[in-house]
């Protein structure tokens, strides 16, 4: 086995602050390496350092050898696409929004491999057919789902012949079956070369196998084969990371006596436009009840929540609120991606004040709730773009709970967050919903999370409604 990448004592500083401290590892041919760590641990910086993509404001030291030769960061770009390639975290943002999908692949065959137009076109269409994207060849990236965009990104990143792949959170925001597809595709694409994956998802690390390197705050915590690290973790941090997964959560179920019915749903058929996504749904929601909705992408999970909130009309059946005197702003939704659901142009304080002014809220309630949500006062002076995803989601919860909701629909509230933060947020959300007597509808693609948290589970089965896919 030969080492394709060898990193020795990689250290990265920013204005005197150490972001990555003496990280050393090597990636062997045919043996994948997974770097495991939570958000902000410096794992993305390591990937960028290998590619030679570190911003010039960061100072890096140590050596990076690619294919057995030490290469300076600046002179690594000729290797891109041809022998080493990197997959982006956000495939949608990494594909040219104006370019037709097949061209994103065919241009690589044309420009990098020097094929003529026709051969490049045929090659690209072949690739898309293999990935089940042929029907979208003439569409643009904005019309693709997250999983499809990631497949297209993989195809275009590897078309130039690179089989040493660096994948930075390749499965972020994808549901479990899409995630497995992507992992298999990555393994196939890296045949003959190797795969360096950066993730916070234990399942991904397990499936990939090979070696694991655990990083915390830029320090190496633990390294070893995937099997030994995951089944017999030595470091406390590694254990915590493994046990932060939903299957290990402990959440108390609701006591049946305390509850009061707030909403009844009979024989409901949901869908967007004319196509039915699911039918025959029956449900009664109670105060403080946690209701989980599971199912694959596109089976109508979000549509179900939106229909209950009255954002979409039901195709058939009845939704009857059972509580008198509730206002429309007490039926609320918590979004999946807080950075894109909050304005980044004003401070969080302004967003909060607007809400207080609009609904004439009692400002006394803000401070205690912020304390419960573990939000420091100072965070309000910043704007959404200067706050982490976890903090922003807690701020969104603050805004929702201030309105004393009777029903809150949380649409994948933690799918873009690392396991520690996901656990913290889910627990907070459930505890506060119980305390306020608010019914909580959680949509998630993670069956373990739903199993652990919810009093009632609704399974939407895609097989029954094949026409929609």
């Amino acid at each position: 086995m030969t080492a394709l990448i060898k990193v020795h004592d990689l250290t990265i500083h920013y204005q005197g602050k150490c972001l990555v401290n003496k990280v050393s590892f090597s990636v062997q041919q045919g043996r994948p390496l997974t770097i495991l760590g939570q958000t902000g641990s410096g794992k993305t910086l390591v990937a960028k350092a290998i590619m030679g993509l570190l911003p010039s404001v960061l100072e890096a030291s140590g050596t990076v050898e690619v294919f057995g030769k030490p290469v300076m960061a600046q002179s690594r770009s000729p290797l891109w696409g041809k022998s080493i390639t990197m997959l982006p975290q956000e495939p949608w943002h990494s594909l040219d929004p104006l370019m037709v999908n097949y061209q994103q692949v065919s241009e690589v065959y044309e420009s990098v491999k020097g094929e003529d137009g026709e051969a490049a076109f045929n090659h690209a269409i072949d690739d898309l057919t293999h990935l089940g994207l042929k029907g979208s060849a003439l569409k643009r990236p904005t019309e693709l789902s997250g999983g499809m965009a990631q497949r297209l990104a993989i195809a275009s990143a590897t078309a130039g012949g690179a089989n040493l792949l660096i994948a930075d959170e390749p499965t972020k925001g994808l549901d479990s079956s899409r995630r497995d597809d992507i992992i298999q595709l990555l393994q196939r694409s890296a045949q003959g070369g190797s795969l360096l994956t950066i993730t916070h998802d234990i399942d991904v690390a397990q499936q990939l196998g090979g070696d694991i390197l655990v990083i915390k705050d830029g320090e190496m915590i633990e390294a070893g084969s995937a099997e030994s690290v995951l089944t017999n973790p030595q470091a406390e941090y590694t254990k915590a990371l493994i046990y932060a997964a939903p299957q290990y959560w402990q959440i108390e179920k609701l006591r049946k006596t305390e509850r009061k019915a707030i909403l009844s749903v009979t024989d409901l058929t949901i869908g967007r436009g004319k196509d039915a996504l699911a039918s025959g749904l029956n449900l009664t929601c109670h105060t403080g009840e946690i209701i989980g909705v599971v199912g694959d992408s596109g089976c109508g999970k979000s549509t179900f929540g939106d229909t209950l909130l009255g954002l979409l009309p039901p195709l058939k059946g009845e939704i009857k609120p059972l509580l008198a005197n509730t206002k429309s702003h007490q039926w609320l939704k918590l979004f999946q991606d807080p950075p894109s659901s909050l304005s980044a142009h004003v401070t969080l304080q302004t967003l909060l004040n607007d809400l207080v002014k609009l609904h004439k809220l009692d400002t006394q309630k803000i401070a205690p709730l912020m304390e419960k949500l573990n939000l420091p006062e100072s965070i309000l002076q910043r704007s959404a773009k200067d706050v982490s995803g976890g903090e922003l989601q807690r701020f969104s919860i603050l805004r929702a709970l201030l309105l004393e909701p009777v029903f809150l629909f949380a649409d994948e509230p933690t799918s873009r967050l690392d396991p520690f933060i996901a656990k913290e947020i889910t627990e907070l959300l459930i505890a506060l919903a119980r305390e306020q007597g608010c019914a909580l509808l959680i949509v998630s693609h993670d069956p373990a999370l739903i199993d652990k948290c919810c009093d009632t589970v609704i399974r939407l089965d895609q097989q029954k409604h094949k026409s929609v896919a």
Partner: protein
């Protein structure tokens, strides 16, 4: 796309009616005796008396009530008859057509040169940050703060007076076109080069731009395949908005350089109270504006068809 075109045709009719009516109302409300002003333009300021004015009034029916003249004008317009000049007696359509050709030539070369300057400087400033970028920011601000005729005057002083290589004003050879084009182009490029620069920066810092390089494309290939198209949409849309400035600019520049275009003709017609010519010129400018903007919209739509699909 067809809805866009249909929408624009409707807009065109509204513009024709609106511009025509507005000039009609405004001209009738100008102070002074209209017959007297027209007579003065026909026979010269010194040989005008009340009798001559009276003859003009009778001949042109100027004492008819406003709604009679308005109805008369409107029926003519529906038949595409712009009438005859009150001063020269020639059909307005001929005069306007003649002038319009010259104006379009000037506007076209102006916008073309402005685009060449703006794209070159804008892209250069985006790729080479620092002193160069700052220098162009200062220069742009300076040029933009000056009215376009000051730029024109400075060009005349430099290239026609101090260093006489180009004619001061007039029309005929290509040399006559250089200074007015340059004056117009500089004033347009002063703003648009910054728009090009900002959009170039936005694109080359975008994740998809970096990803294109990671796919293995060389910097040149990346710029040609992913840069140009993404930069061009907002830039073309901006040039469309700038066309208002072009139309405003040619009125001033034509007067300054005695360029026989529609702006120059419009200014003269206003002094002479030659209502049909004023209306004809204003109408043509309005129509031209709608047509050019339609072209810009279609072009943007062709480059970026995303909006229409959703």
């Amino acid at each position: 796309m067809w809805t866009l075109i249909k929408h624009r045709i409707f807009q065109l009719i509204l513009v024709v009616w609106g511009v025509g009516t507005l000039t009609f109302v405004l001209m009738r409300n100008l102070p002074g005796d209209m017959a007297y002003r027209i007579a003065a333009s026909r026979y010269g300021q010194d040989s005008v008396d009340s009798a001559a004015a009276e003859i003009v009034r009778q001949e042109l029916g100027l004492d008819a009530s406003w709604w009679q003249s308005y109805a008369h004008w409107l029926t003519d317009l529906v038949q595409f008859n712009l009438g005859k000049s009150l001063v020269s007696g020639l059909p307005v359509i001929d005069t306007v057509q003649h002038q319009l050709g010259h104006s379009v030539l000037l506007a076209f070369t102006g916008v073309l040169f402005a685009s060449l300057i703006a794209i070159a400087i804008g892209v250069l400033s985006a790729f080479r940050q620092g002193a160069l970028d700052h220098g162009f920011l200062w220069l742009s601000t300076l040029l933009r703060s000056m009215p376009v005729f000051v730029i024109g005057l400075m060009l005349i002083l430099i290239f026609a007076v101090a260093w006489p290589i180009l004619p001061v004003a007039g029309f005929g050879t290509w040399q006559h076109l250089v200074l007015p084009t340059l004056a117009l182009a500089l004033s347009l490029a002063a703003v648009s080069n910054r728009v090009v620069r900002n959009n170039t920066l936005k694109v080359i810092r975008a994740p998809f731009y970096q990803f294109a390089a990671i796919k293995g494309l060389s910097p040149t290939q990346t710029f040609i395949q992913h840069g140009i198209r993404n930069i061009s949409v907002p830039v073309i849309a901006f040039i469309g908005i700038q066309l208002v400035t072009v139309i405003e600019g040619i009125v001033m520049i034509e007067s300054l350089f005695s360029w026989p275009g529609i702006g120059h003709g419009l200014a003269h017609a206003i002094f002479a109270r030659d209502i049909p010519v004023i209306q004809g010129c204003a109408l043509m400018m309005g129509i031209l504006f709608v047509l050019l903007n339609t072209c810009v919209d279609l072009l943007c739509h062709w480059i970026d068809p995303r909006g229409a699909q959703s």
